[in-house]
């Protein structure tokens, strides 16, 4: 029960794709194998990056993990940043507006698609 254990779980996702698959197929069961407090379990189960940030978990890891858990898509960096900003995505990158709107559109459509797949029981997603 520590930041270290959370960071270990996240770091291992970057090292071992089998652990990513195991987590995505049964998040509760996977996390139950680790010594986590209720609060720690919850923030990992929900991938609550804002809570992890406040808890002191490394941003280097959380940024990497969200892309890894989503198939390595570079564009999911923007979804990660949206989560870090509580649903808002600031254009800190100064991306020209047509491109930025396209990125926001990609994130929204992808998330809607994943929710649909989840409802159909085709894919488990982290909510």
């Amino acid at each position: 029960m520590s930041i270290g254990t959370i960071e270990k779980i996240l770091w291992e996702f970057g090292e071992d794709s089998a652990k990513v698959e195991a987590f995505l197929s049964d998040p509760d069961g996977y996390l139950a194998q680790h010594p986590l407090s209720e609060e720690e379990f919850s923030m990992l189960r929900r991938m609550d990056f804002v809570a992890m940030d406040a808890y002191g978990v490394s941003n280097l890891l959380t940024m990497m993990v969200w892309q890894t858990l989503n198939g390595g898509s570079e564009l999911m960096l923007f979804d990660y940043l949206k989560r870090m900003n509580k649903g808002n995505l600031p254009n800190n990158f100064q991306i020209p507006w047509p491109g930025f709107i396209a990125i926001r559109g990609f994130v929204a459509v992808r998330n809607a698609w994943m929710r649909l797949l989840s409802l159909l029981g085709v894919k488990k997603i982290l909510t």
């Binding site: 270990k8 291992e12 940030d53 002191g56 890891l61």
Partner: protein, 278 residues
Amino acid sequence: MAQIAGAFCVPHIPLIASKPVVADKAQREKVFAAFAHIRERVLELGIDTAIIIGDDHYTVFGPHCLPSMLIGVGDIDGPYEDWLGHEKAPIPSNPELAGHIMQYGFEHGFDWAVGKTLTVDHSVFVPYLKIVKETGRDIRTIPVYIAAGVMPLIRPRRCVELGAMIGEAVAAYPGDERVAIIGTGGLSHWVGAARMGEINEDFDHAILDMIKRRDIDAILRFTDEEVLNESGNGALEYRNWLVAMGAVKQYDYELLCYEPIHGWVTGTALVELKVANA
């Protein structure tokens, strides 16, 4: 007798290797021109070994082992990250000089960790690529990692002391190596933080001015909290630059390039610390 003949501070932004085009064209051309200038200087100075000061990003090392300072003394290769778009390959090393620096450190109060083999991440690989490999010459690399990216962090004063020790160790080496020391990393940037993409140009210019004056005491007055709040977790990498500054007692500062590059999410500077009597 070996000597530190060159010193530089440069970025190690992974996008430089993986996807440079996401930066504004005019800005990235200035950065690449500055790298080209450094390569010319490396050849002009007759550099045969580059000591590259990097920091891990929870890539090479994990929560089970986080060295405060580490030197690679044997075979090295890189990059660790496949997404950098460069195939992992051996990096020519200088095990004799690296082993000497390691031992000199042990005998002078630096109980650092040692990589008998090491796969380097972008923090060493990008400067190696742009400054060493792209010269096309037989220049060898010695990687040094310090804890400037992952908590707990090495204290900044220790970075200056580490640099000074490396400078003394090189000077005490019986070979005739001409060594460049390269501090790497960004100025202001937020990596994976909510403010990722922001740049604090005021901070960047302030620290560059301190480097220009070799005002180490002023730099040491920064608290980690100040840097984190005002300039981002990535700015903590000024520690890498402190090692290079510590290795060179006197230098003439030349700013080759400063650009706030939002596409690369970093305040980006390339600096030469021209070594007296090199």
